[in-house]
Symmetry: C2
Subunit: 199 residues, 2 copies
């Protein structure tokens, strides 16, 4: 009996090892070398040794390389708030959501630092980043309202969550060595509690 | 002796009564009727019965009709924080700044409501609004650092201020009758303190 021969044809293959991370890395290199606006998808694919078609299997456009994680983040926030104990105060439900998100970034410190450099160099991307933050805060506020939290408490608690995460994340990104993001989030929230208490 | 005759020549005059508010009103009407992107400066000037040249004496471009107050706001925030008593906690310096800004809006409720409608209809203006808020928070954080407040406390207190003001302002704008903005700011800050205290 003959064994079926599996041929591996690079050009036709629909699967490439580590395609997503190769594309991300190539994109970040090019965004930093040439600027985000000056980089094309064709150049990113070429740098990664992949086709444009492969690029578009992973990302809708070159901006999504930087902002593609937003949907997943939002889902984690929302489901963590929904599943917090019924007795949890709004701020505790929000704290649980921030902690639930931290593990997503465990292997992403180098990526986050490079991404930060690219965004800092481009006002359009900075506005997009602010919009991302506003959208995540608004999703948390919705999730709190579904728990029966009234306005303006729901919006305020969600905004406090966004500030807490933003401050912790900025600190995490600013250090060349990856610290424990969860610990930074807890510190940031503790500090915020002291500040609003007038200390 | 002959009395000097003052001639008022509308076409040549460098001064028009209420030019700024006539231009603002004309701009807001057009932004709401046609959309911000579809409105030109020529149309705004014509609607106000003024020249384009007069428009450009008051506003750098059509976006500045909506965002021109940012510089003045920033100055008030910064000087209020600088002049808070040395013993004031960061959150109290920020609260003083928010209270100092409230009187600027006393006669601006109708304007603010129309402006809000225009911004809500245009994603580009929403991003600009987020950017304005971020810039004001960053100016407050700078002012706190000049008082010797360390990081991240300075940034956190400034962000708390931005949230507090944003929540109070949104509530003020949402009501057809102008309430006391200062009172709404104090309520919003009290509520934020309760939330971070886990209540």
């Amino acid at each position: 009996m003959s064994t079926p021969v599996i041929t591996y044809n690079r050009g036709m293959s629909r699967w490439e090892p580590n395609a997503r991370s190769r594309l991300e890395q190539a994109a970040l290199e090019l965004y930093r070398e040439r600027g985000f606006d000056q980089t094309t998808v064709a150049e990113i694919a070429a740098r990664a040794g992949l086709t444009e078609r492969t690029f578009f299997r992973y990302f809708a456009d070159k901006r999504e390389v930087l902002f593609g994680g937003q949907g997943a983040l939002q889902e984690i926030y929302v489901s963590a708030i929904a599943s917090a104990p019924e007795s949890a105060a709004p701020i505790d439900a929000v704290a649980a959501a921030l902690e639930a998100v931290a593990p997503m970034f465990r292997e992403r410190h180098a990526f986050a630092r490079q991404r930060q450099t690219v965004i800092a160099a481009n006002p359009g991307l900075q506005e997009r980043e602010l919009q991302k933050r506003a959208a995540l805060a608004s999703a948390m506020a919705d999730a709190l309202r579904r728990r029966g939290v009234a306005e303006p408490a729901a919006s305020l608690a969600a905004e406090v969550g966004a500030i807490t995460f933003g401050t912790a994340f900025a600190r995490w990104v600013s250090e060349p060595d990856a610290q424990d993001l969860s610990a930074l989030i807890r510190e940031s929230l503790d500090q915020l509690k002291l500040i609003t208490a007038g200390k």
